[in-house]
Amino acid sequence: MTEFEPNIIGFLCNWCSYAGADLAGTSRMKYPPNIKSIRVMCSGRVDTVFILDALKKGADGVLVAGCHPGDCHYQSGNYKTNRRIKLLKKLLGDMGVEPRRVRFEYISASEGQKFAKVVTDFVDELKKMGPNPLKTLQD
């Protein structure tokens, strides 16, 4: 049997985390190819609905990454997203979905290294968790 390869959707803020991911790429840092990145203008643009929709459509994990506290281009988008994701994780736990399938990280434009590490760790963790149970539940 081939090893389970998790499918990750990444919502990356334009001003910090997407640039960080770009830096990881241009610096030829190694990280697993399991993430599909979607650029958003700010992590605050990530509605809880997007995350649930990604999980429902079969993502094994969702990474949301934004600027460090105090650095959000729109001042407070990252604070809101932090709260949203904490509340969302409570919902996931109640619904029997591992809350760790959703992850929020602060990654700046210069932290290519951190981006690569976060993705590597997340892939490892998801491999241990196994496939998203919602996939089989709702077919």
Partner: protein, 332 residues
Amino acid sequence: MDKKKTDSKDKKLQIAFYWAASCGGCEIAVLDIDEAILDVAAAADILFWPVAIDTKYKDVEAMKDNTIDVCFFNGAVRTSEQEHLANLLRKKSKILVAFGACSISGGIPGLANIASREEIFKTAYLDNPSTENPDKTIPKTSVKVKEGELTLPEFYDTVKTLDQVVDVDYYLPGCPPSPWLITDAIDAIIKNKLPPKGSVLAPMKSVCDECRFEKSEKKIKSIKRIYELDKIEDKCFLEQGVICMGPATRAGCRGKCMEGNMPCTGCGGLLPNSLDQGASMISALASILGVEGEENMTDEEVDKLIEQVKDVVGTFYKYTLPASLINRRVMK
């Protein structure tokens, strides 16, 4: 009675009502339209309405397809009997209306999707402190007794919305739908002025839009349940720290609950273009929770704020769990 509305007897509208997994409130809501019920009686023949008139399933089975012009179906689908009736009434009706929150999005019975059939039976028939059941009898679809075989409909593991079972033409929201929404709908049917198939027969706005409270910029310091308020002030519940589902709920009720000094719990269901009522409200609430001084708050302080939200599913998905993106708990 107003005879003009029905030019000839044989043109009378043929209607039916049915209840599935619901509390019965929707049946009462039909009577809540007061004297307008007389217009309905003048314009329509009621072919089937188990709660009010003596008709049998076999009467419906004997009908030709599309005999019923409009069927109002309230309640979610939890049992094989309800599923059978949903299919049967779909076949016999030209227009099928999902009537009320339960048939549209599961409603209160839909909250049972947080548990499995086994868990529900165990609580209801075995573990309940007021239950005496030494033989540990739980419902079965068939049981042999000396007189023969007794049967019960199957109790499914998951509650479904009506449109997860059959094609639905219109949706009439509310728990139960407000009398004016019902009379507007009936009026549109009688005058043949229904909107396109698939429409929700209610305004496009949110409950906040119809709420009596003045709106200002909302910020919440801490979350309170209604009994924890010393005094209910005459202002938006969210600003008083009480979770109010108004921003994520479809209007139509004219802000009924706030008239009675209670927050909206969301019975109007999803707003147009929202995929998930609970998730929309989670986003809205998180955006106004603890925003004052947010830049100096530690992550632990944020955790404490979030901890104040009790019963996430019951608060944000009170009426829509079966219609939500994660529509039942994952069972191990």
